[in-house]
Amino acid sequence: MSMPSTITPPDSGRQDLLHHFDDLEQQHLSSSLGMWFFLASEVMFFSGLIASYMLYRFWSPEAFHLASAHMDKWVGLANTGVLLTSSLTMALAVRCTQVGDRKGIVRNLLLTALFAVAFLGVKAYEYRVEINHNLFPGPNFIVPGSPRDPHASPGHAEAGASDHGEGGHGGGASDYERLRQASMVDGQVDEQEFSRNQGHFQLMFVFYFFITGIHAFHMIIGVVLILLFAVLAQMRWFSGYGQTQIEMLGLYWHFVDLVWVFVYPLLYLVE
């Protein structure tokens, strides 16, 4: 069996050929196809979640509308910008492998990791604000303005509790009052409906934390891989310039960014 790859000098930029492939083209194609199939699998992973989210949102538009008003869309927008920039530097890193610019590879990978960490930092900040407002789902979850809410001014909550219906339409009405309003049947609060509406209000945050959490998890894996690849590229561990490996990492990274491009409008922007 002939093995053309071993006779090429190590730094010629050619990648090694693994024993079970016939040529480099086949090897590259296989890796790339494998990554695309993996991403198809990932799409199905997220799509189950996003479909459930959209269903619940369709069933209970008012509760989801009120809850999504708590997302800061400007912070989200800035973060989207950061993430898209990281995609750019990742694409540049892939370009550097093709033209054989080892310094460029390492520099661009590190920049990508930097932007990714910045994104995660902003995300952590958003989580902190939400958790401090008792918006993390579970036993500690409190609908803003409800009698249990320590942040609401007591007078306000009482005002909300005392006037049924007509009075609460003002811009200052709390989420609790509005949910109550949405649960009115013939001028009476339908307690069951009210409880369901509060549940749906919380459900928005369940989906928010779960979807963005899984996205962040994917990003953390990505950052670890990016840093690892930067070190390996610096050590010249890859055969050639790691064209295949870094291109696959790039595909994964662009996918993670693309998920955010869908998640951001769905969670932050939909009115």
Binding site: H19, H20, S30, F37, S41, A63, P137, L203
Partner: protein, 553 residues
Amino acid sequence: MNASASARLDGPPEDYLTAGSTVKSWLLTSDHKRIGVLYLISVTAFFIVGGILAGLMRLELMTPKGDLFASADTYNRMFTMHGVVMIFFFLVPAIPAALGNFLLPLMIGARDLAFPKINLLSWYIYIIGAAMGLYLLAQGGVDTGWTFYTPFSSMYSNTRVVTAALAVFITGFSSILTGLNFLVTVHTMRAPGMTWFRMPLFVWSNYATALVMVLGTPVLAISVVLVGLERFFGFGIFDPKLGGDPILFQHLFWFYSHPAVYIMVLPGFAVISEIIPCFARRPIFGYSFIAFSSVAIAVFGFLVWGHHMFVSGQSMYAGAVFSILSFLVAIPSAIKVFNWTATLYKGSIRFDTPMLYALGFIGLFLVGGLTGLMVASLALDVHVHDTYFIVAHFHYIMVGGTVTAYMGGLHFWWPKISGRMYPELWGKLSALLVFVGFNLTFFPQFILGYLGMPRRYFEYRPEYQVLNVMSTAGATILAVGMLMPMVYFLLSLRGPKNAGPNPWGATGLEWQIESPPTTHNFHAPVVVTCDPYLYSPEEAEREYVHAQHDHAS
């Protein structure tokens, strides 16, 4: 990376079984044949575990009163663990990961799967998931049924649902990786001349299976994660009090788990499509129809999940649509059965063990498929839903179909895998026992279900006892039939490598190399110049006449 690549090329081609006999050389192998054998051993172990659980359940059901187990709760855990073990740790990986891993590269003339290390990784992930499954079993198991239906699983069950969910989640990744590997291998690793329509049908079916694995499994992963979260945090996604919907879980779950039925049975079709032409000595009838029907089943399989939910309160119109779509799945399945039967027509049929299993498969799958049409009909399903009729139906598909095919495939390729023949007479006996035992076990369950005996109860009304005793007796025969091959396969390993490259006179690239194959698979680059299944019944007849003549003189 470089080192491992050249290490395999350094040595001369060696028998893959004896090239390095240390435990390490097996546990760190990236040879698809060895990984196939690793899977074979591990799924067999779980088949035994699941079988023991089934045996205990059948023993309990000998009498109408609960007497073997202390409580109904124990029985609930038994059937749940039987389902979880058999489906996730045996049926899903059995044919693709054991036989498929071994055969797929050989059949398309490749040196290995596209990603040998990911292949090994998939086995380790499977083992981690499986170890969690065993831990779960040791801790008493779960009692939710293998379907993990909410809100029972998310709010009320006092057993280790989260551990079970995690075990299923992890094992799911193993099948995603196997599927990924198969898809890429079929696309990029075919030998020159091995066009799509020259591929053996085994490859086509496993390709369709791999598609379902890659696209379906992540949805299962997300639904079991949601159950886990629900138990930890009480979010209320499936809790109606908090505005959640327990039925949503059923949708997510069956969106995977119905296609998973095809993950289990398509590889069965794969095996049968190889055995039938070889022992009928005829080219397969309707090659492209069989190939495309596999893909059609994989696609339709994603659109029928609602037929598990006819009585869940889903919209009547949705029910009607799911019913019609389920009927449509019968079309590609029937195409296969007709084509296999047409292949037998005017063939020169030899009744060796693999063929006996394959013929058994056709009959059992037919019964399973036709009763599938019955339960896909809205009105009839309301009557038989959650009864033993359903149990019998899916066992006809899963055991009568998949397990029979798996056994047939094992007998067919055992000479290739081990290099040894097994005792033919014992093989035929096992095929007979499995067929008889299976029918005696599960046919009475159709009647029981139709009479109204619900599934998942450990006590029943006394008038059902006769049929239940028949079923238990059948299970005993079935168990003997299943255990026999295990014994004579293992015993055959002590004998010499007597199989020769091609004991069945089969076509296919895997039969043109020695048994067992070498670490390199092929000695020279493979070039394919003809279609698969070029068998000639006339030649077989002539050979037969010659043999008779020689014998007489």
